[in-house]
Amino acid sequence: MAARRRLPFWADYLLLPFLNLSLAFLVSGLVVLLLGENPIAAVKLLLYGAFGFGEAVGYTLFYATNFIFTGLAVALAFHAGLFNIGGEGQAALGGLGVALAALWFGHLHPLLAIPLAVVGAALLGGIWGFIPGWLQARRGSHTVITTIMLNFVAASIMTYLLVNVIIKPGQSAPETVTFAENVWLPQLHGLLQPLGIAIGRSPLNLAFPIALLCALLVWIYVWKLRLGYELRVVGRSEPAALYAGISPATHIVLVMTIAGALAGMMALNEVLGAQHRLVLGFTGGYGFVGIAVALMGRNHPLGVVLAALLFGALYQGGAELAFDMPRINRDMIVVIQGLVILFAGALEHMFRPTLEALFVRTRPVPV
């Protein structure tokens, strides 16, 4: 038995990502240097831009909210051994659900209208996850293929509806009318103001705590519930699942539906919390970045939240960097993000063997 040595929890989830991240920033620093800017100053600007003042933190957490939802959608499916690349389409459909609920029920009391919009997001996103789940379970169609294809189908549906059906008439922008204020998710700066807490004006809204709650629920689902136990058996070994009387098909459909609903709820943040209207292309690639977030977060909800924070900081700090250091344009920000994904995601095994060798003797019982 070649016993594979495992790392203690903290080394696996904190030290290793930290090492990878440091390397990513080191290489990014070299690129910044090549562009003729001071890398130290750039990092300072980036950190300041992401965490330095209230508004910055607000934007960082706002972006992180998107990434938590789409990251969870990938991570959860992964526990069933499925690769959900459909976050983008599921989020788009979630946006449609939000918009329809907001347009139909916007006149109702917020305590009624907002939950209906949440249900709308989860329902339509869930349907968009259910379809590839069902196809995988019943027809054996690989989710990688079907979810990618459904992203395109979702894009087509959204374009058709936003151009022809639910567009605000008489304008060139493919957008709906702005929703009734009743159904807007309260933004946190507004909520905190009466309490005497002044955070800068940012689109950070109630979707953020909802995202954290979802992360907690996913954790409970995967590690605390019988359903999650069975789900993990399906993901790790299908023969073992059949042996244990667990139906892989049922769990695949269930988990893809929930994953779709999670991705769909990203629309709460963007559509209901920030834009207050459905805008074509509001998903903005968050669904795809969610894959990197899940990868970095090692498919653990806590890891996903942390990785989402990192990506949120990169988005917001990157924008500030582009504002203040014009030589570092938006393409450079993409390069830095790419390096982070490369080192922290794809190359995450680089330091692992060395670290594991270091920890051979001192392996405590993981809790």
């Binding site: 038995m1 016993a3 594979r4 495992r6 605390k224 519930l225 019988r226 359903l227 136990y229 069975e230 993990r232 058996v233 790790r236 070994s237 023969p239 073992a240 059949l242 042996y243 244990a244 009387g245 667990i246 019982v365 993981p366 809790v367």
Partner: protein
């Protein structure tokens, strides 16, 4: 020249000679001081039970493994065979149990793989086609060179493999269990081809565990057991009975202390059962038997004769295509419901089915029982209780290390098996299905496992034991069924069972034929 070859009256230099081959995999000694001489222009059979070391020996000859000690001589000259390429250069060709063909390619394209010859494909193809057609004529190997391999029946695919070896200049051809996948007609055709090869002066080494094939086609036969070469015979001077005896051996049985069985009510009744595999091939054919409370029914047989499919069907994992399975008088519907009705199952392949490698011990300790009310509180797992239970079983079954948080993959085979056994026994089943309970398990653990199974029986449980280890079946079971090619070849009480007769049945030789 080997002494055996001389004894067999062959004066020429052997085509292949192996001297003192030793090979270990960790603590397992797969080959111990093996000598073998194969006379040129003969068909030489090698027989032995699974795990006797036949395949290891042939893989050494073909360069897949390097021996720890010993020498290989081809045509009397010592050769270093470090890779299959060296083997091909030495004129050795091999036809594996599982074909190594590119399915979407045509026969000709497959034959050319690795021997394209020439800068442009065209010139090489034309030359190769002429050569191959000549080989086909010489040996009666009719194959359509332009057919796509995927579309060909298994028997013809095998001919392509033989053709491939000959095209590459093999004059020594090794076939590993060639009839395992063939119909009887295809097997007969194969034997005619082998005889043709011999007539043309080629040498054939045939590895099999089917004694009838040995008797039908070989000139000489060597018997392996426990990694050693135990006998060499001229086929004309031996018999299936003698070979069976040599194969099984006379080693002391691992005797289990057990009193007579006191069978009670029937717990499991199987009638007219047919089970098909994933490729819709019937693997269990018309099988009927009963297991009673308080008895161990053993199913003996060489691996791959339908036992796996039978176990899966009984456990509700695989749906039978015909027949019925009654557990305490009611049909078994699926795995979940079968378990709820007190069916325990120790699967043959614990790492594939019985455990989830990347799960901790305590998580594995509830696999299959995760729906039991005692483990749940409103859909939540009662983790503490599960861990405590796991620790308790690890104590009582002496699972080491006694760490419920260790991953299953990090336990040794014996400890993994004890973990599975603990789980299946401690959930107190009425019927226990046990497949290969001691495969890959060290001697100490074997005894422990055997004692537990007998204790279960004495507690009035019904046990169905499937094992390829004849000794194990003989020492544990109260009644023994022998399975061959999906059928029950015979049944006998344990005290009447003799190894020789069981060995013959396992090899597919019925009492009348023997």
């Amino acid at each position: 020249m080997g002494a055996e070859a001389a004894a067999a009256g062959v004066d020429e230099t052997p085509a292949v000679e192996l001297r003192g081959i030793c090979k270990s995999f960790g603590p397992v000694q797969a080959n111990r001081e093996v000598d073998l001489a194969v006379a040129a222009g003969t068909i030489h059979g090698i027989v032995g039970e699974n795990g006797a070391g036949k395949s290891t020996l042939m893989n050494i000859l073909y360069g897949f493994y390097q021996p720890d000690a010993g020498r290989i001589l081809v045509d009397g000259r010592p050769r270093r065979i470090r890779s299959p390429l060296d083997a091909i250069r030495a004129g050795i060709g091999m036809v594996h149990q599982h074909f190594m063909l590119v399915e979407p390619f045509t026969v000709l394209e497959n034959l050319l793989l690795g021997a394209e010859g020439g800068f442009t494909l065209e010139a090489g193809i034309a030359r190769a086609r002429r050569e191959i057609e000549a080989i086909e004529r010489d040996y009666g190997l009719e194959v359509d060179l332009d057919a796509v391999v995927r579309d060909l029946p298994v028997g013809v695919q095998q001919r392509v493999e033989i053709l491939k070896a000959l095209f590459r200049g093999a004059h020594i051809l090794v076939l590993d269990e060639p009839t395992g996948v063939l119909t009887p007609q295809e097997a007969d055709h194969l034997f005619r081809i082998l005889e043709n090869l011999r007539e043309q002066g080629r040498t054939v080494v045939l590895i099999t565990h089917k004694l009838r094939e040995i008797m039908a086609v070989t000139d000489h036969v060597s018997v392996m057991r426990g990694g050693r070469m135990v006998a060499h015979r001229r086929t004309s001077e031996t018999s299936t009975e003698e070979l069976a005896e040599l194969m099984v051996g006379r080693k002391v049985l691992l005797r289990v202390e057990k009193g007579p069985a006191r069978p009670g009510e029937p717990v499991l009744e199987v009638a007219g059962l047919e089970v098909r595999d994933d490729f819709d091939v019937p693997r269990v054919r018309d099988v009927s038997f009963t297991v009673r409370a308080g008895e161990i029914l053993g199913i003996a047989g060489v691996a791959g004769n339908g036992q796996s499919e039978l176990l899966e069907a009984l456990a509700g994992i695989r749906r039978p295509s015909r027949g019925r399975i009654l557990l305490r008088g009611r049909p078994v519907e699926d795995a979940a419901r079968a378990r709820a009705r007190r069916l325990g199952h120790v699967p043959e392949d614990r790492l594939r089915m019985g455990l989830v490698r990347s799960f901790t011990a305590w998580e594995n300790a509830i696999l299959g029982y995760q729906r039991l009310a005692g483990y749940l509180r409103g859909g939540f797992l009662r983790r503490r209780r599960m861990i405590a239970g796991c620790v308790d079983w690890m104590e009582r079954y002496d699972v080491r290390p006694r760490d419920p948080f260790l991953h299953a993959a990090d336990f040794s085979g014996g400890n993994q098996q004890k973990l599975v056994l603990a789980r299946e026994l401690e959930h107190d089943p009425d019927l226990l299905l046990v497949g290969q309970p001691t495969r890959g398990v060290d001697i100490g653990a074997i005894e422990f496992i055997h004692r537990r199974l007998v204790a279960m029986r004495d507690a009035g449980k019904a046990i169905l034991l499937v094992s390829v280890e004849l000794e194990e079946v003989m020492s544990l079971a109260d009644r023994i069924l022998v399975m061959f090619d999906g059928r029950i070849m015979g049944e006998m009480a344990a005290e009447e069972a003799e190894e020789r007769r069981l060995g013959l049945l396992m090899a597919g030789v019925t009492a009348e034929a023997g």
